[in-house]
């Protein structure tokens, strides 16, 4: 018995040692990655960002301490927004909030008519939505440390882009950026991110263009997962059912936050096509279960993904998705579909006649 106990003890000790080693190894690799990012990649961003080595390191996930910097660089600042511009937009937003709360808005907005009422509603909505953004983190709620920051960024954006305004889903994107960047930099990244074609199409709810994105997605869906694609078709399960939430919030609402950040990492590297590749990765990961479900169970499953997604399997599954269809890449397929649409629109009056 003693021998057995000793044996067990030895085994346990070995297990502990192995766990410790693994943890050290992981910490080492994160530590090394931080060093590589800080000392080698970031100072030479322009020349290094597209190298194979960096791209591979990037895929592994960006260490949280440099994540914000990398995101900022990768998203860029095509709009040339300065910290001063952010301050100006924020001041204007605060002005509006004040006039709203004192009731002076009506006079000011008289000639603006309907759009003013719309804007008022959108400022009101921001207030309501902030407390519903990552509620379980308890940092964006009233009294939480980032409540005012989130409020400021969303308010400033409605003044910067009154033509877009506030749209639900934005609060999640701003929140993820706030968790990784200082306020003004988060605003810059936020505005530039939303200015990308795919995000603009969705947040302006350009239905025609959204349908084009869904159609392009379906091309790669059929190519990568033909059996599941047929099953979805048979059950009338259209991509809008699950893609709308995923694309609007860039997965930050539907995936665990650490996984969502890793998706954002590669999204910053590869652009919009990675959002659709991720969607296919999710479908591939759950292909076996989904094939056995009917319409409503698939819809229920995909609009509320399991909370315990295995991160390694998840990324392996995404990696297995080919974003190439008959030698054509995402951008080519999308452009071709857009062209078809335009031609159809142009041709339709004569067709009707």
């Amino acid at each position: 018995m003693v021998v057995q106990a000793k044996k067990r003890e030895l085994k346990e000790a070995q297990k502990r040692k192995k766990q410790l080693e693994e943890r050290c190894k992981l910490e080492d690799s994160i530590g090394n990655a931080v060093l590589t990012w800080n000392n080698e990649i970031l100072p030479n961003w322009e020349t290094m960002c597209c190298s194979r080595k960096v791209r591979e390191l990037w895929w592994q996930g960006i260490p949280p301490s440099v994540r914000g910097k990398v995101w900022s660089l990768a998203i860029g600042n095509e709009l040339n927004i300065t910290h001063e511009l952010y301050d100006i937009c924020l001041a204007r937003a605060k002005e509006k909030w004040r006039s709203l709360s004192t009731g002076g808005a009506e006079v000011e907005c008289e000639d603006a008519g309907f759009s003013a009422a719309d804007r008022e509603a959108s400022l009101e909505l921001i207030k309501l939505d902030i407390s519903r953004t990552f509620p379980s983190l308890c940092i964006f709620q009233q009294g939480g440390p980032y409540h005012d920051t989130l409020h400021s960024i969303l308010g400033a954006y409605t003044c910067y882009r009154p033509d877009v305004g506030y749209v639900q889903g934005m609060s999640f994107i701003a929140a993820v950026l706030i968790l990784n960047l200082d306020t003004a930099d988060a605003f810059i990244a936020f505005s530039n991110l939303l200015n990308k074609p795919c995000q603009m199409a969705f947040f302006r709810v350009d239905h025609g263009l959204m349908l084009t994105y869904f159609a392009a997605f379906e091309v790669f869906f059929e190519e990568n997962l033909p059996k599941l694609f047929a099953h979805f078709k048979k059950n009338n399960l259209t991509p809008d059912i699950y893609l709308i939430d995923w694309i609007f919030t860039l997965y930050s609402k539907s995936l665990p936050l650490d996984l969502a950040c890793r998706v954002w990492d590669v999204f910053c590297r590869d652009g919009e096509e990675f959002l659709f590749r991720t969607a296919l990765g999710i479908l591939k990961l759950f292909e076996d279960i989904l094939t056995k479900m009917d319409f409503i169970h698939i819809a229920q499953f995909l609009t509320k993904l399991p909370e315990d997604l295995p991160s390694e399997e998840f990324f392996t599954s995404i990696a297995a998705i080919q974003m190439q269809s008959r030698n054509k890449k995402w951008a080519q397929i999308l452009a071709a579909l857009q062209k078809d649409n335009r031609e159809m629109e142009k041709g339709s009056p004569s067709l009707k006649r």
């Binding site: 953004t133 749209v167 059912i241 939430d245 609007f248 919030t249």
Partner: protein, 204 residues
């Protein structure tokens, strides 16, 4: 041929508690920390209606104006619509005629509508009288009005039971009894003028 289950769609302004109502209905629990809905969320649950098992789909929609062009495309497939307002915020009640108009415009002709005033746990902050809700419901020929509380589980089960019973009574719903799966298709018959369930639950 269609094997779809009956669909009840939830609509109404943002933050009136639609998702909390569905969550309570599905899990029997209240989630104070509910995130806002983007697009449409889907739920399925079985119910016992007069001793028979009925499976229903609930489609929970986003409330923001901007999403209406998206959510409209889902109205067509719904058999019943639950219109929700927050009884502590008058503006959400004032939007109800607009939501009814949307349903009439984009929904199926024989769609059953009912009205719920959520957050009845905060009666001290009430801004909408139940009588006013009843008047509105009567005017538009809605099936019923109920005041609900997802927080305190008031009338949630009743809302869906009432809706399911009405759908059965209108014979658009086939029961999942001993011989599933059943097919379910949209009924194209004209709707009989007087609903078989009492018009409103005006019990106050």
């Amino acid at each position: 041929e269609s094997k779809t289950l009956p669909v009840i769609i939830l609509i109404g302004d943002s933050n009136v508690g639609k998702t909390c109502v569905v969550h309570r209905f599905k899990t029997g629990q209240y989630n104070e920390k509910q995130q806002n809905t983007i697009g449409v969320d889907f739920t399925v649950r079985s119910m016992d209606i007069d001793g028979k098992r009925v499976k229903i789909q609930v489609w929970d929609t986003a409330g923001q104006e901007r999403f209406r062009t998206i959510t409209q495309s889902y109205y067509r497939s719904a058999h019943g619509a639950i219109l929700a307002y927050d009884l502590t915020r008058k503006s959400t009640f004032e939007s109800i005629p607009h939501w009814i108009h949307e349903i009439e415009k984009y929904g199926a002709a024989n769609l059953v509508m009912m009205l719920i005033g959520n957050k009845s746990d905060s009666l001290d902050k009430r801004q909408v009288l139940f009588e006013d809700a009843c008047t509105l419901a009567e005017k538009h020929g809605l099936l019923a009005v109920l005041e609900t509380s997802a927080k305190e589980a008031q009338n949630i089960e009743e809302v869906f039971t009432l809706m399911a019973k009405e759908l059965i009574a209108r014979n658009t719903l086939q029961l999942h009894g001993e011989n599933p799966p059943n097919s379910f298709s949209l009924d194209s018959r004209p709707v009989i003028a007087s609903p078989s369930v009492e018009k409103t639950q005006c019990s106050c």
